[in-house]
């Protein structure tokens, strides 16, 4: 594993509000919001003249919005034309890949500063179309005709994990409950409500309508009820991430110029990327993602650290089972042991290894092409101690990780960040 030829820092990061923003906000509008937020969070300011290129991560504007060629479109909106601009696609890992390509371009010496855009506007389409567009990230020839949907593919993975390790539906529910608790503290999140609060508001609604009250004693009762329908057994609605519109913006800079923008740069200590067969049936294992294992192996090696050195992580919880797999495949826990950590609360905000302090894809939302960049935004905030409301972790974060997965695990980018 080679090293980066020069040190690279994240000097500014920001995002748009995530949510059902269309038609009030489309990709260009959300990107400008994210850009302005990132400029504001760049200590000494940053201007187009400081930036050499614009790399855009987006999954499927073609099918969601009938718009291709986002690179120059986004560059123009923030005054970056005629500089190089291009779009990168790797399903839900699109902006993780754009970010990694920016890192490699700066390391090469060709560019000193690159702006990374991640964006996706999904709600322009009705849900049935969104599901169909997402399905194109899996195998269209062999999985799709067999009935695969995206929740279906992760549910299939879950079934094998349940069988092999004794994982249960309750274990998955704990992941969702935890991420919603974090998302409730994130003003940029799509669903800023804990599952307890959602349950209580449902009971209040039933009461005002004079309907029979459900006998839910806690969130688990609520999550096992018909209010949380099965989408693809064993996954229910609250095991699935959201359909979201949003954008994120990162400014990455070479060591030589990073200090022009901030006195507290967040360094890229390691970057890795992995791949796997598109179809789950073409992989050797169902309960572990080789792309995650490979990407993290590279990132750990480049950073010269191991899983125990990571203090917080944003992992790709497109489905609750995906967070469990990530905790294991990133090496934080042995296979089959992540559920114990979830049970004891280790991954909670005040736990030993807080995971998805942003609320994750589950609660913050998952505008697929924006997700990888948005994960870095959260790490940027946590490492600088500026996370909003009550979700700032209580210790000084020296080292953190982002884990961005594409499709049903066929693409993965892992980045290790250091102060």
């Amino acid at each position: 594993m080679g090293k980066l030829a020069r040190k690279i820092a994240l000097v500014g990061a920001g995002m748009s509000k995530f949510g059902r923003n269309f038609p009030e906000k489309r990709n260009p509008d959300m990107w400008i919001d994210a850009w302005l937020d990132a400029v504001e969070k760049t200590d000494n300011g940053i201007e187009p003249k400081d930036i050499d290129a614009c790399y855009v991560g987006n999954y499927s504007s073609d099918l969601f919005n009938h718009q291709g060629h986002l690179g120059p479109q986004m560059a123009d909106l923030v005054g970056l034309t005629p500089k190089p601009a291009a779009r990168f696609e790797g399903a839900c890992a699109s902006s993780g890949i754009a970010m990694r390509q920016a890192i490699l371009a700066i390391a090469s010496g060709v560019h000193d500063v690159v702006a990374v855009c991640g964006c996706e506007c999904m709600t322009e389409q009705p849900t049935v179309n969104v599901t169909d567009v997402l399905a194109t990230a899996s195998d269209s020839i062999f999985e799709y005709p067999a009935g695969a949907t995206f929740p279906g593919l992760y549910a299939t993975v879950a079934s094998a994990h349940f069988k092999k390790y004794g994982t249960t539906a309750e274990d998955l529910m704990r992941v969702g409950i935890k991420n919603h608790e974090n998302g409730a503290e994130n003003p940029y999140a799509q669903m800023q409500q804990s599952i307890k609060k959602l349950m209580d508001s449902k009971i209040a609604k039933y009461t005002s309508q004079g309907r029979d009250l459900p006998d839910w004693e806690d969130e688990f009762d609520f999550l096992k009820s018909s209010s949380n329908p099965v989408i693809a057994y064993p996954l229910r609605l609250f095991d699935c991430s959201l359909i979201t519109d949003g954008a994120a913006c990162l400014f990455l800079a070479a060591e030589d110029v990073a200090k022009d923008f901030t006195d507290t740069p967040i360094w890229v200590a390691g970057t890795g990327q992995g791949s796997a067969a598109l179809s789950i049936h073409d992989r050797k294992e169902i309960t572990s993602f080789v792309a995650t294992r490979e990407a993290s192996r590279q990132a750990y090696e480049m950073a010269g650290v191991g899983p125990k050195d990571i203090q917080i992580a944003e992992v790709h919880d497109c489905f609750t089972i995906a967070e469990i797999l990530a905790m294991e495949d990133l090496g934080f826990y042995e296979k089959g042991k992540a559920i114990d950590a979830v049970k004891t609360g280790e991954s909670k905000l005040d736990g030993a290894l807080p995971i998805n302090t942003s609320g994750g894809l589950k609660s913050k939302g998952h505008p697929v092409g924006a997700t990888g960049a948005a994960q870095a935004v959260e790490i940027f905030k946590q490492m600088r101690g500026i996370a909003e409301r009550n979700r700032q972790v209580k210790f000084d974060v020296e080292r953190a990780m982002t884990h961005n997965l594409g499709g049903s695990g066929a693409s993965c980018v892992v980045t290790i960040w250091e102060k």
Partner: protein, 139 residues
Amino acid sequence: MSDEKQFTIESYLEYIRNRKLMGSKCKDCGVTYVPVRKLCSECNSTKMEWVEMSGKGELAAFTSITVGTPYFVERGYDRKNPYCFSVIKLDEGPMISAQLVGVEESKPETIEIGTPLKVTFLESEVKGETKVDLGFEPA
């Protein structure tokens, strides 16, 4: 077995339409591919031969889907009538995706990973055309 048949996806699908589950076997390293591949991704050989699968295997993973794809929805599957997507490990080694039938889709907790399965070919009428899709059912 027709040796002239190219090792392409279309050839594989044509076999399915003719109710045969075929794979390609690498003559150099012996790995079998279902669906078929022309290039062995284990040893880079292109010396392939067609082999017919026994159609026997076991259930490796599955789900019962209540919110299905348009292709399944237009054939009558919905929340009250879910269908099973599954991954099957064939006796010959490879895994393949297929609809699982002959099980209680509405009671997925009764379906067991490891259940012995056999191939079946599922016929349906789509826009006046007869389609044949790969399926598996308990052996």
